[in-house]
Amino acid sequence: MAKVDIRNLNVWFKENHVLKDVSLTIRENAVTAVMGPSGCGKTTLIRAINRMNDVISGSRSSGELFIDGKNVYDSNTNVYELRRKVGMVFQKPNPFPKSIFENVAFGVKIHKMATDKKLSEIVQTSLTEAALWDEVRNRLNDSAFSLSGGQQQRLCIARALAVEPEVILMDEPCSALDPAATAKIEGLMRSLSERYTVIVVTHNLQQAARVSDFTAFMYVGQLIEYGDTNSVFENPKNETTEKYITGKFG
């Protein structure tokens, strides 16, 4: 089933037209990878989904973006609720300078989603789901900065899960991590896709091939090719896509 439906989306940063007429439909409970060379607009595309481009000064957009049939660019959209529903994990792990517990609890508190008693339950569930609970259960009050980079990124995933999102956006979540930590996050993407719609930006072809069900290939602001991962990699329809996945540029 379609979860996110993007139609003729254009985004500008000041005079710079970074996303050109992008249309694609993203399936529910699947991992969709958005790949392409640096500066092709893939990050802008996923930041359009939770309207995080809004916070960049000089940005504007046109077109429609539906989540569950509702256009998030409608003037009556509650952006805060949208961002609760569409979680985001960033390129560089960015836990708050707070304790591990407080990091996960942050979103739950700002949305007033739980009582104090239920809060610790949510923290535990979220950390378990992010495959971090066993490593931190005895040190929940330690600073988040005491964790390794890979653990910090999983903490950021737990933090996003705690507010019960439906879509999870990941912006090159492994680019700052070593191979072992990368493998853990990739495994997590797979297991999360059972309950969530996962959209991951990557410039790593192998990663896209390993974890995704569907792959979108972007180039200079345009969506060049989109389809299920096997056919995009094995049988690309577009010449640019083929050049990219065979390593002729990128």
Binding site: Y80, E81, L82, F90, K92, P97, I110, F145
Partner: protein
């Protein structure tokens, strides 16, 4: 001239000014400590009416704490506005330049403004409150600039993470930027206090008197201050040097301890905040 002579010349031309500074400081410190003979701990808590310094010390502290209580919040909100909310443009540039200019206004001019505006126009008279407001003007540029710097040092990634979780802008700013910058903000207030602790010209006309009976009972009463007493004793009363140096030494100790406290606090928190390393 050989290379060696050149090196010697540079060593001398850099070393001599340093030595002059050190000598001047040593001389000041030496003079101040000649006043130590006139001090004893009991005098610090003895009323001026019995020849002690109690009211002037407390007066100085009252002035400082009150000014900090006003300048702290105003400076904090102004800096949050400038860093997080103001859009770059003409108005922001004007505000920015005004803050720089305020920092450069001679204290006697601030005092004159305080006298005409707070004391006369607002009718506060010669009072603690008028002194607070006048000193606030001197503290503000330091508090604003210091807080701005601390706010800008907090990585934007924290704020972005909060926004992406669905926080409102104010919630994101207050829970990440401001809480991360809090130690730096507190430090800038303390350094601002150190800046105005010894201030004399600004408060001569607005809040100080030479002698009071007891401490002020309300903010609308005048107050004694170490710096003002020092000034009057030197200029008008021609007191013996030693007693004047005793007062100067107390003032010096207060100013220095504020500055040292501020610096220690800043160093301590910089160590605790990984993004500042």
């Amino acid at each position: 001239m050989g290379r060696k002579n050149g090196e010697t010349l540079i060593f001398v031309s850099l070393g001599v000014p340093t030595a002059i500074c050190l000598a001047a400081f040593a001389w000041i410190a030496g003079s101040l400590f000649t006043g130590i003979g006139t001090l004893n701990p009991a005098l610090l808590t003895t009323s001026v009416l019995q020849g002690g310094y109690f009211e002037m010390i407390m007066g100085t502290i009252y002035l400082l704490l009150g000014a900090a209580a006003i300048a702290g919040p105003i400076g904090l909100f102004a800096s949050i506005y400038l860093v997080e909310y103001a859009r770059p443009g003409k108005i922001t540039a004007i505000i920015d330049q005004s803050i720089n200019n305020l920092a450069g206004v001679p204290s006697i001019v601030i005092g004159l403004f305080g006298y005409t505006f707070f004391s006369k126009q607002l009718g506060l008279g010669v009072s603690l409150a008028a002194g607070w407001l006048t000193l606030t003007l001197m503290m503000l540029p330091i508090v604003i600039r210091g807080s701005e710097e601390s706010l800008r040092m907090v990585p934007g990634a924290f704020k972005e993470a909060a926004l992406a979780l669905g926080a409102t802008k104010w919630k994101a700013v207050s829970s990440t930027s401001v809480s991360g910058a809090a130690p730096g903000i507190v430090t800038s207030v303390i350094l601002g206090m150190a800046r105005v602790a010894g201030e004399t010209a600004a408060i001569i006309a607005v809040s100080c008197v030479l002698i009071t009976r007891g401490l002020p009972k309300s903010p609308l009463e005048p107050v004694m201050a170490l710096s003002y007493n020092l000034f009057v004793r030197i200029i008008a009363l021609g007191e013996s040097a030693q007693e004047v140096f005793g007062i100067a030494l107390i003032l010096f100790a207060i100013v220095t301890s504020f500055a040292i406290f501020g610096i220690v606090l800043r160093t301590y928190y910089r160590r605790k905040q990984p993004w500042l390393r």
